[in-house]
């Protein structure tokens, strides 16, 4: 297994563990953290895809940087929604916020 494959496998593990976090937690904030871990996985995969013979592609890297900043703003938005939900319902457990389910 070379360096690139190692990075790719690690990226896949990050993605799956982020997904696992989302499915197993009952806390909105932890869900958002899981989502962010998934995005890290994707970014790492994009970065690893840009490597060739250990050289980094500038273009791929700059796209990853853009992706990181978009990810950060999405996370900020999600956290602000979580705060609104907490103020409105007094809980961070999405299973208790079930107005749409009824």
């Amino acid at each position: 297994m070379n360096e690139q494959q190692l990075l790719q496998v690690f990226a896949a593990i990050l993605f799956v563990s982020g997904f696992g976090t989302i499915t197993s937690t009952k806390n909105l904030v932890k869900m958002i953290m899981g989502f962010q871990v998934m995005i890290w996985g994707v970014n790492l995969a994009l970065f690893a895809g840009g490597l060739i013979d250990g050289q980094v592609s500038m273009f791929a890297t700059s796209l990853v940087v853009i992706s990181i900043s978009i990810g950060a703003s999405v996370e900020a938005l999600a956290l602000s929604l979580a705060i609104l939900a907490f103020r409105r319902y007094g809980t961070l457990n999405p299973w208790e916020i079930r107005r749409l389910a009824h």
Binding site: V16, F19, T23, G49, G50
Partner: protein
């Protein structure tokens, strides 16, 4: 790399400008003109590209991206790409200028201008893309812009529904396109158009694979270009602002499908099945849509059905498999872009002043709106193919190429489409501009639209007269070596078709002898045929019965496994992901 990096800036500039339009939103006039200026600069860059590739040169410039998978970001400028970039940006510029008048009093303009700029940038990027992956990314961006702009007035339920419908229906095509090019990539390990083209011509790709992937990619093209049976979204898309209909749903985005087929022509043209499918999809769409346009009362829907029909003619020309047919389709694409944009902008000018889209409420507007009248008249003459308007040259070329390729049935059907076109366009013209003046015009004391709207109309009117004479230059640019000739039989046939279509239209809608309403009551068969056409031949009803109701039936049947807790529903997905991960690690 060329001077000014024109091939990169031409599509990147609108993207870069988007945040600035948002920042300038406080000063609305500055923001509006800023957006127009950016598209204007993109247009100049497109002209620059066109000058650079004179004499059969091409510009290819690429940056390594995901090198591990062999993906690069490649801008490939050849005659076809430069030609279309020019069409997109010139029409885009005129339409953004027109928007200043048409959209002047609307709310949500920051959203409007940023989406329009995003669209123009992405559409230019799409035509300059050198590989499937890049094309697909831009393809999705234009799709999103289209859906958002259809639903621009989001407080109107029908507009939101139409936006969603456009998104869902084109999604079917997009999924097919994705599967098609990924399948090609898995077997050939490249997504580059040029490499794939040379591999196909050397016989390195099996014919069965070419046919299968080619048909999938054709489905993608049909979704975007609204060909039967994936056409149902386009007439509903008329819920959006008219400027959007003109820019996206007449002049540029709907051409993306035709462009995709033209771009991948060198790859798939060896497959005769593919060529036949392309041709017949076009002919059937052209006929069905033209017949529906003869009965529709909404002026924008008439133009929308007409767009589907004209796009069908382009597919029909591509079905010939000859360089001449290929050129005819692209020339008609340009020609359609201009005269249809003109038609929509003229219709927009009427809708803007009158506040209705129903042709029953219009009539006798030619004296009160003379410039709009001339614009709509020119659009009608160009669309029906009256010489010397641009539509005459491009439509005749299609008929000639079809008959040269010995596709006589198709050529005959195109002439039938020509008759229908002439009938419905003159019907619209007579209903809107002739006859007694409508009540609304008198009540509102109707007058011509503001100058900011009529100037683009006049420029486009001049363009549809002049552009027909650029046929030879366009053929040179697109690298067509064979001589183009107009043949007397086809000219006679197409002019006869115009007259045959015009005559009943003139009697029924100008002289009102026989009066169309009483005439229909006397002929119940025609009346029921009209009902069928008005229902769009039942495509929508069938989709609702099969997909909408079918899916809700399946979901009701499987209600018990639906816990209502999202996390639990996602466990199977997690299991599949873990299995995939294990499989990948095992195979390293």
């Amino acid at each position: 790399m060329s001077t000014f990096y024109a091939e990169w800036l031409v599509w990147a500039l609108p993207f870069i400008a988007i945040p600035f339009t948002l920042l300038l939103s406080r000063w609305t006039r500055v923001r509006n003109w800023f957006a127009a200026a950016i598209v204007g600069i993109s247009f100049l860059l497109a002209v620059n590209l066109l000058l650079q590739i004179q004499g059969g040169r091409t510009i290819t410039s690429s940056i390594p991206w995901l090198s591990a998978y062999g993906f690069t970001v490649t801008v490939h400028v050849d005659g076809l790409a430069a030609f279309l970039a020019l069409v997109v940006n010139s029409l885009g510029f005129l339409i953004v200028v027109y928007s200043q008048g048409y959209m002047g009093h609307e709310k949500g303009l920051p959203r409007y201008y940023s989406l329009v700029l995003l669209f123009i940038g992405a559409m230019t990027g799409l035509v300059l893309a050198g590989n499937f992956l890049q094309l697909y990314i831009f393809w999705e961006i234009v799709g999103i812009c289209s859906a958002f702009l259809i639903a621009f007035w989001y407080d109107r339920p029908e507009a939101v529904r139409a936006g969603l419908k456009a998104f869902l229906v084109t999604r079917v095509g997009d999924a097919a396109l994705l599967i098609g090019f990924v399948w090609l990539y898995v077997t050939t390990h490249t997504v580059d158009f040029e490499k794939l083209g040379s591999m196909a011509s050397q016989g390195l790709i099996p014919l069965s694979l070419l046919t299968a992937t080619g048909l999938l990619i054709l489905v993608g093209a049909m979704g975007k270009s609204a060909q039967v049976p994936l056409h149902v979204w386009l007439p509903d898309a008329m819920e959006g602002p008219t400027t959007v209909s003109a820019l996206i749903h007449a002049a540029t985005m709907v051409n993306a499908g035709v462009y995709l087929v033209a771009r991948t022509y060198p790859i798939f043209m060896l497959s005769q099945t593919w060529l036949t499918a392309v041709g017949w999809v076009g002919i059937i769409s052209a006929l069905l849509a033209a017949s529906i346009a003869t009965v529709t009362m909404d002026i924008k829907r008439v133009l929308a059905y007409s767009t589907i029909s004209q796009l069908g003619l382009m597919f029909a020309a591509l079905g010939t498999g000859t360089p001449g047919g290929w050129f005819a389709s692209q020339f008609h694409l340009m020609s359609q872009g201009f005269f249809k944009a003109l038609g929509f902008l003229a219709a927009g000018s009427i809708i803007h002043m009158l506040g209705t889209r129903n042709m029953e409420d219009m009539g006798g507007l030619r004296k009160r709106m003379p410039i709009t009248f001339i614009a709509f008249l020119f659009s009608t003459l160009a669309l029906t193919g009256v010489p010397p308007f641009v539509g005459f040259w491009s439509k005749d070329l299609i008929i000639t190429e079809l008959s040269l390729a010995h596709l006589n049935i198709q050529a005959l059907l195109v002439i039938v489409v020509s008759m229908l076109t002439s009938f419905y366009m003159f019907r619209a013209l007579f209903k809107v501009f002739f006859g007694p003046e409508c009540k609304m015009a008198q009540e509102k004391d109707l007058h011509e639209s503001p100058r900011i709207m009529t100037i683009p109309l006049l420029i486009l009117s001049a363009a549809v007269v002049v552009l027909g004479f650029t046929e030879g230059a366009a053929a040179n640019l697109l690298g067509l070596t064979e001589q183009l000739a107009l043949e007397l039989p086809t000219i006679t046939a197409s002019i006869a078709a115009i007259l045959i279509g015009l005559t009943p239209s003139y009697f029924a809608f100008y002289l009102l002898k026989p009066n169309p309403r009483t005439f229909l009551d006397e002929h119940p068969t025609l009346k029921s045929l009209r009902q069928g056409m008005l229902a769009g031949y039942g495509f929508d009803a069938a989709y609702i019965a099969v997909f909408v109701k079918g899916i809700s039936r399946i979901s009701n049947a499987t209600r018990r496994i639906q816990t209502g807790i999202l996390a639990k529903n996602m466990w199977p997905m997690l299991a599949v992901l873990i299995l995939l991960l294990l499989w990948v690690v095992m195979n390293l």
